[in-house]
Homo-oligomer: 291 residues x 2
């Protein structure tokens, strides 16, 4: 661990939120109160916790957060009515449909309904499409937070070999597309691995920056990384009631030049980037209305 | 070249078009004439040729193809009116906005207007977004053609190490996303390289399947590939009036187990896949209207 930098997501998130807090104060001074709406369907316990965290963090910044709770048995039309009302309400700047949704609700259909200018989770088809073609739009919070954490810690992405383990819709795939964009937050040579990858260890060892978002506790071990690698662990697995990452920290950290812990790494950045999107949405809406 | 298979795009395209021709005949037998509309703005010479090719190939299959020609100075509102009319006309199954467009036209805005169910080029934000999240939708013709050519030649993609050189919006990036989807047309371990990539040769040598779509004549040479590699050349460069690929065929082919020629490789597949999307759009529209 001699010289290994532990990338402190909590400190970085505090810094981002402190900057956002100033921006919110300025907006409020002009009569604009950034507002976030969250749709929470059913009583899936982890969702309750995530939504509570977003609510608390948003309110601390001076963002107006309201949670619309609906029973797990709600009819699709009732949910659509809520999304539609949010789309049409100029006082709503950002909106989140908390996933997962119960079976009767088609998440792609609902996400497709949400106005892209309010899609602070960056998960609507239009937002993902904009991402692939490199146009401005909201990007998903977790990959955005990973890039922010690296950039703020002075880690160069451009021309580096990045290996992403995991091809999920929330982290792996959007992150790959973001890192391929031009500019200092991209320009990386990107490899994406997943459950079908043969010789995962060999591919991981080719990484200068390794991002693991596979959803499998301690999948990546010390023998699978090269000395000096930068490791980002986006895993959140519950093992024996404890939050554990996808990286075996104890064996990987001694070989890494920098590594994120779990908890306290990527997690805190996710909420900060979501709130950053809400503030951006409010600023854009205010500019458009001339406030 | 002993034992190197030359992947014949012309033959493969003929096979695809012959299958499509049967499908069109069946649709016409039920009173449904698959129809394609192409918007061609200005007089950019290569676009004239591409559009002519699409028109000819479509008509050979029995598809009703009409080209809407507009002057290079056309006002955005006039173009939007055409796209809007196509969206609302149930007799139009597929529509293409031929790129590039003159400066006064915002291609992202126009593409964003086109109904995703008619977007046979697969380039609207909604289609690209669907691609990232693995939902059904039209995929761009060139990457779809590359996958079709490989699959029809019995080349396994699943679990193979694919290196893509080029991160363009038309080939590299959509292909990367497609190859990461689950199933036998995906499940590959994918690396994307580009102009910022260091040690391009080393990355290319790690490929079992190498796809080059960089837009740079003869960028990949024999010393940059490993023996037995499958090479797909999506380049179309004009050198001294001759069509030349991104791969130096003469030095690469002897090391490859299979390779596409230029011309006669990826090119013919592109038009075939576009027409396949038109037939699919017509079938879907016919099923929805009960024809």
């Amino acid at each position: 661990m001699n010289g290994t930098v532990v990338l402190d997501g909590r400190a970085c998130s505090r810094q981002v939120r402190s900057e956002l807090s100033e921006q919110v104060a300025r907006l409020r001074g002009r009569g604009v109160v950034p507002s976030l709406r969250i749709l929470l369907v059913g009583d899936f316990a982890p969702s309750q916790v995530y939504v509570r965290n977003k609510e608390k963090a948003g309110m601390q910044l001076g963002i107006d957060v309201a949670v619309e709770r609906m029973p797990g048995t709600v009819a699709p039309a009732d949910v659509e009515r809520v999304v539609d009302a949010w789309n049409r309400d100029p006082g709503v700047h950002g909106a989140i449909i908390q996933l997962p949704l119960p079976e009767q609700l088609d998440r792609h259909r609902l996400l497709g309904m949400l106005a892209p200018c309010k899609d602070v989770d960056g998960l609507t088809p239009a937002s993902l499409g904009a991402l692939v073609s490199g146009r401005p739009g909201f990007t998903p919070a977790t990959p955005t937070g990973i890039i922010e954490l690296l950039v703020r810690n002075g880690i160069t992405l451009s021309a580096r070999r990045v290996v992403i383990v995991g091809r999920g819709e929330l982290v792996g795939k959007p992150l790959a597309n973001m890192l391929l964009l031009r500019g200092e937050r991209g320009d990386a040579t990107v490899t994406v691995c997943h459950t079908q990858t043969r010789e995962l260890a060999e591919v991981c060892r080719s990484a200068e920056i390794l991002v693991v978002a596979a959803g499998k506790a301690r999948l990546v071990t010390g023998d699978m990384v090269s000395p000096g690698v930068v490791v980002v662990d986006a895993g959140t697995n519950s093992v024996g009631g404890r939050l554990v990452g996808d990286v075996d920290f104890d064996s990987v950290a001694p070989k890494a030049s920098a590594i994120t812990p779990v908890p306290g790494g990527v997690g805190p950045m996710t909420v900060a980037m979501l709130l950053s999107n809400v503030v951006k949405a409010a600023r854009t809406a205010a500019a458009a209305s001339g406030s």
